[in-house]
Symmetry: C2
Subunit: 195 residues, 2 copies
DNA sequence: CGTTATGTACACCAATCAGTGTGCTTAACC
DNA sequence: GGTTAAGCACACTGATTGGTGTACATAACG
């Protein structure tokens, strides 16, 4: 009569709690927003006891901050490092990535979402968002420099703004705006990089 | 000992309840976000009894929707109608407006905020946001046509995206991004309008 | 083996929130 | 002056929330 078998595959959900919590966070915070995701629901999805969750993250805010930090490694994964593309092509390829799937509506950059949902500008997660956005702009500027742009910093900042605009607008209009952003990017890149 | 004098100027707060509620909504929803503004606080600021508030708006969602509808009249006030500017100048002037004040940080377009905070895509306020954004793009397109742009609809959509990008990015970075957007706009307008 | 992390179950707390019920007061209008 | 609509005070409900306390179970490791 032992209650050993509880997990989905008959296994005890055991050891990997922290990972499951973070993974559930990514899913739920993205789908429902941070504010509309309760810790109870999150624990249920992660198949983790509430107590365990609070042993890993002493506060919801802490979990949110760690959830955002998790994206850092992926900084536009495989785009900046793709050596099969010229620097110029890489600058434009950024705008193809975010289109994840046809049924995955309103993806919305998690950092923008966090910056809107968390009103306190001092919130550590807001800082995380700030740093990430600056990092993206910096990588874009690096690539722009590599491509021989006249003012790489400016072009990097401009392209970053286009990304954010596409993300926000996609959310509000419920329709892809990255194509428009890509078209603008093409104009800017052409104008900034002498051939 | 009658409790007549309660309002700020010794007047009873009386008759104008609905207006005060809407006005408090604009202030609080903008400053704190919709989700972080409770009806109790809102009523306190509006100097309105809770009962009265619920006689005007049977639900918080209804109030939110009405709050968003209120912006429609102001569609970028005084910019599109400013006949002292050429159409081309009007297209660029749009990017000067949003800078309200130096201490008024993170203004963030209320429609983007609403679209992020309200997860349900069916929410009437989301629809309101959608319509407003489309309206802005349409007015921009009209002005672009007036200015003789080759593809007015495209230019309108592009400029609208720049506005949203600047709003979102200003929020995340806590620093003005409209100057960057204006620079991009200048490039696009120059490229699209034959001289 | 025994110890030590790690995880679990479940009840519980205090706070907050949207929304109501009730009875009373006041201003506006005829 | 009397009716009516608008507003008010205030207590209250029911649900949800973030977070704890407690006692127990199990897996890993030496």
């Amino acid at each position: 009569m032992t209650e050993l078998e509880k997990g989905p595959q008959g296994r005890r959900r055991g050891r990997g709690a922290r990972e499951r919590i973070l993974s559930a966070s990514q899913q739920l915070f993205r789908e429902q927003g941070i504010g509309h995701t309760g810790m109870d629901q999150l624990c249920a999805v992660a198949q983790v006891s509430k107590r365990t969750a609070y042993q890993h993250f002493s506060t919801k805010d802490e979990l949110v901050t760690e959830y955002l930090r998790r994206f850092d490694p992926d900084v536009l994964p495989g785009v900046f490092d793709n050596s099969e593309l010229t620097p110029r092509e890489r600058l434009l390829a950024v705008f193809d990535v975010p289109t994840t799937g046809p049924d995955d509506l309103t993806p919305l950059c998690p950092y923008i979402a966090a910056a809107v949902e968390l009103n306190d500008p001092q919130h550590p997660a807001r800082r995380q968002a700030h740093d990430y956005k600056r990092a993206i702009a910096a990588r874009l500027a690096d690539t722009a420099r590599e491509a021989g742009a006249a003012d790489p910093e400016q072009l990097g900042e401009q392209l970053a703004l286009l990304l954010d605009g596409a993300a926000a607008r996609t959310r509000v209009l419920n329709a892809d705006a990255f194509r428009t952003a890509a078209a603008i990017a093409a104009v800017l890149v052409d104008a900034a990089i002498p051939r």
